[in-house]
Amino acid sequence: MTGKPEMGVMAWVRRLLVGVGLAMIAFAVFGGGGPRLSTSPYLVFAARVAVIVLAVLLPLTFALGWLIGRAVPALVRPVVQGACIATAVIVGIALPSVLGRGRQPDLPSALPRNYATGLWTVLAVVWAAAALLIVIRILRRRRAPVGTPLKEKNP
């Protein structure tokens, strides 16, 4: 479909995928979902979450990555980066429960836990694992002959 002409099974698989995909979108739009998908509350929500993720959260991630690249020693940098990624995702997923806006006084079995404590607990586990990995990397570095770079698996 792009570049040189493509023949054979693969070309038909691609056509099939595109055809089925377009049919599914058409079903959503013309098969009953169109009026609902075009309502303003839905479109406002879509615009809001897209802006939050694409224009706020991802750029913040890049900024944090840039900061880690300059502030954290190379030896422990991968572990810190990984732990920061996990932290950001877990906080994002837990935030609605932590804020507890869905709680109702007459429904104590919905959102029954202390989610702030739960979040701190999960993050403590993540960073404990990160600390363990950092210690392992430091020990490995100390045992390696002077001048030997820390061996990474094939990137």
Binding site: G21, I25, G33, G82, A94, R103
Partner: protein, 379 residues
């Protein structure tokens, strides 16, 4: 895009994330479709009463897989972010040479936004933060799923040669090794984050993990009589009618209509069944229910195993105040008009004086605070 210096952003990384995400989105779509069809069945759709745990598994997988896919989606967005920013100018749009290029750009735009909407609204829904959405979640989640899956298939169709090349090419050492995470390190981080998110939430349906799942929006051990509820009697506005001594269950069928008091029902043959209550929001809890088998009531009013039953609640003004019990469930010996839970009379929030509980159905169809049963032909 000179600002994006990471050497990790390669077609191989993006393709690998896509290979993981594809099956996860497929599981979400199929399980979500099943849940929708159970609630709004098409004429061709059939859903069995057994095994009793099947819906518990499909809906538990739906929510767990959706949550586990969030780290992957974000990593994939990260890996293609510079390309997303490389929007064509007016001239380039005018020069789009093939429909495939146009399709690719549109499908990527639709896919990215729809996937973000789908996952964020799902997270808000299980946290019951409905006000943050401003629309009726169930319907929009369903239609958005079609858009996400459709645009994903278009995207795969357009990108298939790139994906095949990226995955088939031998892995060569990078000219400039990354100063931080390697590709393998990033993939491990994403997988580990998904695993942590799953462990921290899946206990809402996998009871042995309830104590570990400190971020689960439900605890299957917590609730009146040790079982969670999704709608209280107070919120349903049924307190007075449900506790009135004048309460009767009206059962009408082809031969007659009977009006049964709670003591009438308790005097009939009682059946006990261990059935899970499973919410569309992904949590579930096993429980032991005791009551009158629905098929006994169907026979009482002249119906038979081919009939369906409409179960109607005291609740008014709710989409879930009425449910249809199809013949496979209506004639199943474990489908009960339950009067007791774990051996005790039903708590008001569990549907006192009588509720429907049937195997392998979503909780929203297990009508509480029953007032009427109408037995009739399924046709």
């Amino acid at each position: 895009m000179k600002g994006f210096t990471s050497t990790l952003r390669t077609p191989r990384l993006t393709s690998q994330l896509g290979v993981w995400l594809g099956p996860m989105f497929a599981i979400c779509f199929v399980t979500g479709f099943i849940s929708h069809e159970i609630q709004h069945p098409a004429s061709w759709f059939f859903w069995p009463a057994h095994p009793v745990w099947l819906y518990r598994v499909t809906q538990g997988m739906h929510v767990a897989t959706g949550l586990a896919s969030i780290p992957l989606v974000l990593a994939k967005l990260w890996s293609v972010f510079p390309r997303l920013l490389r929007l064509p100018g007016v001239r380039r749009w005018a020069n789009v040479q093939t429909w495939a290029q146009l399709l690719e750009r549109l499908s990527v735009l639709v896919l990215v936004v729809a996937a973000i909407v789908q996952l964020s609204s799902g997270v808000l829904n299980i946290a019951r933060w409905y006000a943050a959405m401003g629309f009726f979640f169930t319907s929009l989640h369903y239609w958005t799923a079609w858009v996400v899956t459709g645009s994903l298939l278009v995207h795969i169709g357009v990108k298939l040669p790139v994906v095949r090349r990226a995955l088939a090419a031998p892995v060569r050492p990078l000219r400039r090794p990354p100063a931080g995470l390697t590709r393998r390190g990033l993939l491990t981080t994403v997988a580990a984050t998904s695993a942590v998110v799953t462990a921290a939430t899946v206990g809402e349906t996998v009871r042995p993990l309830a104590a570990v799942s400190v971020l689960a929006d439900r605890d299957p051990r917590v609730g009146p009589q040790g079982v969670p509820v999704n709608k209280s009697a107070l919120a349903a506005g049924v307190h007075a009618a449900a506790t009135s001594p004048d309460w009767r269950l009206a059962v009408s069928g082809p031969a007659r209509t009977v009006r049964l008091s709670l003591s009438d029902l308790a005097a009939m043959r009682q059946t006990t069944a261990a059935l899970p209550i499973t919410c569309v929001e992904g949590w579930s809890a096993g429980a032991t229910w005791t009551g009158v088998a629905l098929r006994d009531l169907v026979h009482l009013v002249g119906g038979d195993g081919a009939d369906q039953v409409a179960a109607i609640s005291l609740q008014r003004g709710s989409a879930y105040a009425r449910s249809i019990v199809d013949p496979p469930h209506a004639r199943d010996p474990e489908t009960l008009i339950a009067l007791r839970l774990h051996g005790e009379p039903l708590h008001l929030d569990h549907g006192y004086p009588a509720r429907l509980i049937a195997p392998n159905r979503p909780g929203v169809l297990q009508t509480k605070w029953l007032s009427q049963l109408i037995v009739g032909s399924a046709a």
